[in-house]
Every structure is written in structure tokens, then in C-alpha cells.
């Protein structure tokens, strides 16, 4: 029993650390060049956004079309907090996430009391409001030209790529771990119950409104963190960050990866972000790739890559001996047949 707990903690822990450390070392040794490193890091930000959308759409079961609005809040929030209030970067990233969470609370409060897809309409409007406000508040946000951000993770050219990578992928791993802990607990089950059947959840002592709110506020917080990490990584942001397009991009990752599967949407976010870069030689035609993939997935695997299942490293580890036996068994069989 004790061993099992230890093993269940150790395996994901080791995988998580390896995901951060190995590429970071490779980036530092220039095995992975600066360009690839930047794409990997950007994919990390996209993955955090995908997780945010998954928490609200896949796990809580409420459609949100404005998560990019929360991301923009986080991004501009972190700039204002560090540049104007001189708060250290690490603290202001968390604070920016909390600001986004607070706005999530304000929006969720009236909307989530209703049954149905009202949240989709309200969040759609919210994203647009944020964008228009950012465009017009020229004094604070720099207007449509965007805002330069001087406090990037680091200006050092030798360590820059590596530090950005570690900061963002590290945050991604931390978010995944904490979220999985939360979801695989009594609270997570309560949120899932609300997704499955509101009336039955309510009759079994799960306050439906409360847990919809919990889901939505967590999703807003994570989106805020994604924005707050994006700003110091890119060093320059525009109000376009809050655009509808951006929200839909994140939603596509989730639909492809599997509604309700955190690991699925992370994988989808990484693959699609990389794919867009790999297919650069196609010029503008590469924009056709998303829709084509989406149509194919809907035709052949409507539940998405992983459905509602999670990729479990513990189970993979347990599966290795069996797989090994299968492979060696097959090889032996082939050998005997060849003879």
C-alpha cells in the first residue's frame, strides 16, 4: 500500500521533471536551436490555454467562447503590475491569474445560475468587450498598437531561451499536477456529477451552482496564468490576444484532444502548434490544416484523441513488462518461423 502510493507519486513526478529538465539542457547545449525552443515554449502557453478551456467545457460541461479574454486580462495584468506597481514578476503572474479569476467570478455569478448555454453567449461578449476596451484605453494599454513589455523572463541571450522554457513548461507541469489532484478527489467528482446530470447531482447534495462556479473560476484563473506567462515570454502584446479567433483556437485543441481529457488537450496543443510551424512551406494554405484535421477527427473519432480518458504514466509503466513480453514473444515466433 505504502509502496503503491510512493510509486504513484514517483512516476508522474519523474516524468514531469524530465519534461522540464531534458529539453532545457538540450536547449542550453544548442542541440535544440533557439527557434525550435521558442515554438516549444509557445506550445506550452497554448497547452495551458487548452487546459483552461477543457476545465470549463470538458469537465464542468459549460461552453465558454471567451477564454482568450481572460488570457488577455492576465497578460495586460502582469504588465501593469510589474511596470506600474513594481511587483516582482513571479508574484504578479499569480496576481494576474487571480484578477482573471475574479472577472470569471463576476461573469459566472449571474450566468451560471441559469441552465443551458448562456455562458457561451456571455463569454463571447466578454471577450469582445475586453478587446475593445484594450484598444480604446490607449493611455494604459497602448491601444491597437499593443504594448511593449520590458520585464521579460530574462534579457540574457545565452540563457534566455532556456529560462523561458523552464518557466512556462514548469508552470504547465505544476498546473497539470495540481489539477489532476483536484479532479481525482471528492471535489472533482462533484464537478463531474454536475456535468453528467444537474438534477441528480443536486438531489445528491452537490450544489450545482457552486460547482459550476468552482469550475469556471478555476478555468479563468488558468487562462489568466497562460496570459501572464505569455507576456514576459513574447515581450510584446496586442489587444488581438482577446479575439474570438484565439478562444476558438484553444477550443479546437480541446475538441481534438478529447473533451474532458487534460492530457489529451495538452498533446493536441503541442502537436498543432508544432504542425503550424512545420507546414510553413505551404504558406497560407497551412491555415486549411486545422479545419481539415477537425473534419477528419469528427468523422473518424468524434470523441477526440483520448476521449475522456487520461494518459497515465503509471499505467504506461505497468504496461511495459507486458508489452516487452509481447514483443519478445513475437520476435521468437518470427525466428522459429524463419527457421
Amino acid at each position: 500500500m505504502k509502496n503503491k502510493i510512493l510509486r504513484n507519486m514517483l512516476i508522474p513526478g519523474v516524468v514531469g521533471v524530465l519534461c522540464v529538465v531534458v529539453p532545457a539542457v538540450l536547449i542550453q547545449l544548442r542541440v535544440i536551436n533557439g527557434y525550435t525552443a521558442q515554438i516549444l515554449t509557445l506550445a506550452g502557453v497554448n497547452a495551458i490555454m487548452a487546459i483552461s478551456v477543457n476545465v470549463i467545457c470538458g469537465i464542468t460541461g459549460q461552453l465558454s467562447l471567451g477564454q482568450a479574454g481572460f488570457q488577455a486580462l492576465g497578460a495586460y495584468g502582469v504588465i501593469l503590475l510589474t511596470a506600474n506597481c513594481h511587483i516582482p514578476l513571479g508574484v504578479s503572474i499569480v496576481l494576474a491569474g487571480l484578477i482573471a479569476a475574479f472577472f470569471g467570478f463576476l461573469i459566472g455569478f449571474p450566468t451560471l445560475k441559469l441552465e443551458g448555454d448562456y455562458l457561451a453567449i456571455v463569454t463571447l461578449a466578454f471577450g469582445e468587450i475586453i478587446r475593445v476596451v484594450l484598444v480604446n484605453l490607449k493611455g494604459i494599454t497602448g491601444g491597437p498598437n499593443g504594448k511593449q513589455f520590458s520585464t521579460v523572463f530574462t534579457t540574457s541571450l545565452t540563457y534566455g531561451a532556456m529560462i523561458s522554457y523552464v518557466a512556462i513548461i514548469g508552470s504547465l507541469v505544476l498546473i497539470i499536477v495540481l489539477l489532476q489532484n483536484f479532479l481525482r478527489s471528492t471535489y472533482g467528482r462533484a464537478i463531474l456529477a454536475v456535468r453528467e446530470d444537474e438534477i441528480a447531482a443536486n438531489s445528491n447534495g452537490v450544489g450545482v451552482f457552486k460547482y459550476k462556479m468552482v469550475g469556471f473560476v478555476i478555468a479563468s484563473f488558468i487562462a489568466g496564468i497562460a496570459g501572464a506567462l505569455y507576456a514576459p515570454f513574447i515581450g510584446f502584446i496586442k489587444p488581438d490576444l482577446a479575439s474570438f479567433n484565439n478562444s476558438i483556437n484553444a477550443l479546437i485543441y480541446v475538441v481534438l484532444g478529447g473533451m474532458g481529457s487534460v492530457t489529451g488537450s495538452v498533446i493536441a496543443a503541442f502537436v498543432l502548434t508544432e504542425l503550424q510551424e512545420v507546414l510553413r512551406f505551404l504558406k497560407d494554405y497551412r491555415l486549411l490544416i486545422y479545419p481539415v484535421i477537425l473534419i477528419l477527427v469528427m468523422l473518424f473519432r468524434p470523441q477526440g484523441l483520448l476521449g475522456t480518458k487520461e494518459l497515465s504514466f503509471v499505467k504506461c509503466w505497468d504496461g511495459i513488462p507486458g508489452l516487452w513480453k509481447k514483443i519478445t514473444g513475437k520476435l521468437k515466433k518470427n525466428n522459429t518461423e524463419a527457421k
Partner: protein, 284 residues
């Protein structure tokens, strides 16, 4: 009636109106501790509507419902939400099964244990010792309950993959998990064969004793109703048309009329076997 201090639930003249339709009119009910009362009536009589009012899903337009909760305090519960009522000690099952289909059988039960949790979100996020202890306790309780209903071996299956009869059982297990004082069963035997119904009757008797429950049940299966209910209420067009002991109800002309129509009334009263008439009506 019996003495007042063991009263669990009292509904006094509750009515509900949907648009212009008065679905239930002046329904009154006293439930005493440990009682097992059946609510019967033809389709569309308003039985499930009454359940929905007692469990907080609908709010009665008129009348007062009082409930003596687990803490022995008597409260008016008209305006409380289903979740609040569940915390006070009312649990229910549904006529059209409402399980959490894509979750496992075990998780379905554990969700009902959520309100008895003993952990904070901090414990959960960092998987503290307290979290593990609480989780183990929940697993133990869940397994104990599933064992009683003989579905422990299905613990890790998805709820929607269970056969119909076991889904019904799982709903009862889930309702029991919240440790209720009053259990509302909405057609627990619907879709079960005779053998399963007999088993279910035994189970209902057993859990009533074991968990010290007061039970109100809606049922179409007359065999089950007559077999285990101590008291029956018959509903037609939203009104109580008869109430009393099962054998009194069986021969009550108003009940026979409601079930079989007025033409049959004469036929049945001519014959001596009033009971078989009511039975056929229930099987419809």
C-alpha cells in the same frame, strides 16, 4: 393518529400549478419515523410531482412542508434546494434512472458521500495524509453499501453499462450513501421481473431496519406495494382519493374506479374478488 413527536415529514395542503394546470391539489401527508408508505395511482395522477415537491425540485405554489432533519430540528422546507434537503436528510431515486452514466459505479456512490467530506481544497491539491484517510473512508463506505446490494463486483464499471435492474439498485445505493432519514423511492421495481422484485422487497425491508429509514415509495407493481407498505395513499388527478391499510385500499370502490373506469366498478363490486381487479389495474 399516532403521537406527534416521531413525525418526520408533514406536508399540509400542498398544491402546485403549472400554467393553468393544477397538477396536485391540497395534498397532505404525515410520515412517522420508521414508516413505509406507498403512493399509488394511475399514470399522470401527480405522484412524481409530489416527489419533486418533497425533494425540492419543484416549489409548491401553496401549502407548507415541514421536515425533522437529522439534527432533530423541525424546519419548513418549501423553499430549500434539493442539495440543501439532501444535507438535511432527504434522499431520492428517479423514475427515469438518473445515474452519472460515464462515471464508474464506485464514483456514483462516492458523489453522494461528498457532503460528508472531511477535507479542504488544500488537502486535496497536495494529497495530504488527511486526504488519503478521507478517501479510504469513502471507499470503505462505498464498498460496504455495494456489498449489501450485491453489486460490489461491478464497482469499476461505468454506470451506463450496468443492466437495468442493477442501475435501479445503484440509484438506491447512491441515495443511501448520503445517510438519509427519509428515502423517497420512485418506482424502484420498474422494469424488474418477478424474481428481482421479490429480492428488492427483501432489500427494502432490510435497509429500512439497518439504516433506520422512513420510506415513501411510488410503485406500479401491486405485489410489491401490498407486500411491504404499511399504509397506502391513492392519487388520481392530483387529489388523494383514498388512504389507509393495503387491504382496505384493495376493496375501495373509488380506487377501483380510478384504475379501471366506472364501467368496471359495477362488475368488480359484483364479483367478490376486489383484490385481483386492483392488481390487474396496477400491471397496466
Amino acid at each position: 393518529m399516532e403521537k406527534e413527536d416521531d413525525l418526520v415529514l408533514r406536508a399540509k395542503d400542498i398544491s402546485i400549478v403549472f400554467g393553468g394546470l393544477k397538477a396536485v391539489t391540497d395534498f397532505s401527508l404525515d410520515l412517522h419515523e420508521g414508516e413505509l408508505v406507498g403512493l399509488i395511482g394511475p399514470n399522470g395522477a401527480g405522484k412524481t410531482t409530489i416527489f419533486n415537491m418533497l425533494s425540492g425540485i419543484y416549489k409548491p405554489t401553496d401549502g407548507v412542508v415541514t421536515f425533522c432533519g437529522r439534527d432533530d430540528k423541525i424546519r419548513v422546507i418549501n423553499k430549500k434546494s434539493p442539495a440543501e434537503l439532501n444535507k438535511l436528510g432527504i434522499a431520492r431515486t428517479f423514475q427515469n434512472i438518473r445515474l452519472f452514466g460515464s462515471l464508474t459505479v464506485g464514483d456514483n456512490v462516492k458523489i453522494a458521500l461528498h457532503q460528508s467530506r472531511n477535507v479542504s481544497s488544500f488537502d486535496v491539491l497536495f494529497r495530504t495524509f488527511k486526504f488519503r484517510k478521507d478517501e479510504n473512508l469513502m471507499t470503505e463506505k462505498t464498498e460496504h453499501l455495494l456489498e449489501i446490494f450485491h453489486i460490489l463486483d461491478k464497482k469499476n464499471e461505468l454506470a451506463r453499462n450496468l443492466p437495468y435492474g442493477e442501475q435501479r439498485k445503484l440509484e438506491i445505493v447512491r441515495a443511501l450513501a448520503s445517510n438519509p432519514k427519509l428515502l423517497l423511492l420512485d418506482e424502484p421495481a420498474a422494469g424488474m421481473n418477478e424474481q428481482e422484485t421479490v429480492e428488492l422487497m427483501e432489500l427494502i425491508r432490510f435497509i429500512r431496519k439497518e439504516f433506520n429509514l422512513t420510506i415513501l415509495l411510488i410503485e406500479h407493481d401491486m405485489h410489491l406495494v401490498m407486500g411491504i407498505c404499511e399504509r397506502l395513499m391513492v392519487l388520481d388527478y392530483g387529489r388523494v382519493i383514498a388512504s389507509g391499510l393495503p387491504n382496505e385500499i384493495q376493496s375501495n370502490p373509488a380506487v377501483i374506479k380510478a384504475y379501471l373506469g366506472s364501467d368496471y366498478e359495477k362488475m368488480v363490486s359484483d364479483s367478490t374478488e376486489g383484490s385481483s381487479g386492483a392488481k390487474e389495474g396496477g400491471a397496466e
